[in-house]
Symmetry: C2
Subunit: 199 residues, 2 copies
C-alpha cells in the first residue's frame, strides 16, 4: 500500500467550476451585451442584475461607470484604446465567470474582432447577447443627449454616426429592445440564463 | 400628494453592498497579500480559499497564474510594467470586493507606493496582509528554484536579490510564515476574516 502521507508538500489546486456551481446552484458565465448607444444595454443589464439577485444568483454588472474610471482610466476613445479597453473587460469578465459569477458586460463594443477577443478569453463561458434596436429608435431615445451632440459634430467617433457598428454574426442570443419593453426584455434574458446557466 | 408614478423612467441603481452582504452572510473585501518570493503567499492564498469555500464564503484568488497570461499579458517586468500590473490588479480586486467577494491577491507587490494605489482603489474594503518570512527562510525554501537562479545572475531584477522589497508600514495584519506552519497560518487568516468581514 502506498503511503500517501509520504508527500507532505501542499498541492496547490483551485476550486473547481463544478464545486462553485454546486454551491451557487448555477454556473458562471459572461453575458456580453453589445449594441448601439441608446439600445438599452445598461438599463437591461442593471434590471436583469436585480432580477437575478432576487432569484439568489451571484451576479455583477461591468459597465462604463465602474470600468472607465478605474481599470481603464488610462485609456481614451481612439480605436486602439477602445480595443485595449474591450480586451481588458473581456479578461476581467472571464475571471468573474471563473469565480462562478454571472457577469453582464454593457459596452457598445462595436467591432467584431474585439468581441471575438473577449470571447476567446472566456471560452465556453461566453455568451454574446445582441441588444438589437435600430438607429432610428436609439436616436429617438437619446437618453444622454449624445446622439444629438454627435449629429452636431460635437462628439467625434460616435458609434452609429461617425464610427461604425458591426452587428454580431454569431450572437448566442438577440434581444429586440425596439419592439419589446425593458420588462419583457428582462424576462427573456432570465429565461435564457435559466436555460443556459442554471439547468 | 406627489404622484410617484409620474416619473416612469427606469431609475438605474446597483445592488447595494448591504444587500450583497445579507445574501452572502459576509461582506466583500480585498485581502492584499504582499511578501518576498517564497514567503508562502500563493500557497496560503489557495489554502485559505479552500477553507473559506468550505465555510460557504464567496471567495476568489487572483495570482500570477490567472492574471499574467490574461489581463496583464501585455506587460513585462520593468518597474513601469510592474506598477501598471499592480494598478490593474488593484482595480480588478476592487470590482470583486464590490461584487461581494472576499478576493485574495497573491503578488509580491514590493513597492509601498504601488500597494497604496491598490489600497486607494478599494477604499475601506482593503486589507494589506504582510506575509512575513525573512530572506534566509524564503531562499532556503526556494519552491520554484528562482532564488538560486537569481543569485546566479540568471533572473534580472529579482525581488530580495537584485530588486528591493519595501516592507509594509501599515499592514492591517501580519502572518509569520517563517515560524508558523501553513495550517496554522490559514487558521489565523480565517480568524482575521471572521472578525473583519463576517462579524
Amino acid at each position: 500500500m502506498a503511503i500517501k502521507s509520504d508527500n507532505l508538500v501542499t498541492v496547490k489546486h483551485r476550486i473547481s467550476a463544478e464545486a462553485r456551481a454546486g454551491a451557487n446552484s448555477h454556473r458562471g458565465g459572461v453575458l456580453w451585451f453589445t449594441g448601439l448607444p441608446g439600445s438599452g444595454k445598461s438599463t437591461l443589464a442593471i434590471e436583469t442584475e436585480h432580477k437575478l439577485f432576487e432569484l439568489g444568483r451571484q451576479v455583477y454588472v461591468l459597465d462604463g461607470d465602474n470600468v472607465r474610471q478605474g481599470l481603464s482610466s488610462d485609456l481614451g476613445f481612439s480605436p486602439e484604446d477602445r480595443t485595449e479597453n474591450i480586451r481588458r473587460i473581456g479578461e476581467v469578465a472571464s475571471l468573474f465567470a471563473d469565480a462562478g459569477f454571472i457577469v453582464i458586460t454593457a459596452f457598445i463594443s462595436p467591432y467584431r474582432e474585439d468581441r471575438d477577443i473577449a470571447r476567446k478569453a472566456a471560452g465556453d463561458l461566453f455568451h454574446e447577447i445582441y441588444i438589437d434596436a435600430d438607429i432610428e429608435t436609439c436616436e429617438r431615445r437619446d437618453p444622454k443627449g449624445h446622439w444629438a451632440l454627435a449629429r452636431a459634430g460635437k462628439i467625434p467617433e460616435y458609434t452609429g454616426v461617425s464610427a461604425p457598428y458591426e452587428e454580431p454574426e454569431k450572437a448566442e442570443y438577440t434581444v429586440d429592445t425596439a419592439q419589446q419593453s425593458i420588462d419583457e426584455s428582462v424576462i427573456k434574458m432570465i429565461e435564457y440564463i435559466d436555460q443556459n446557466l442554471v439547468a
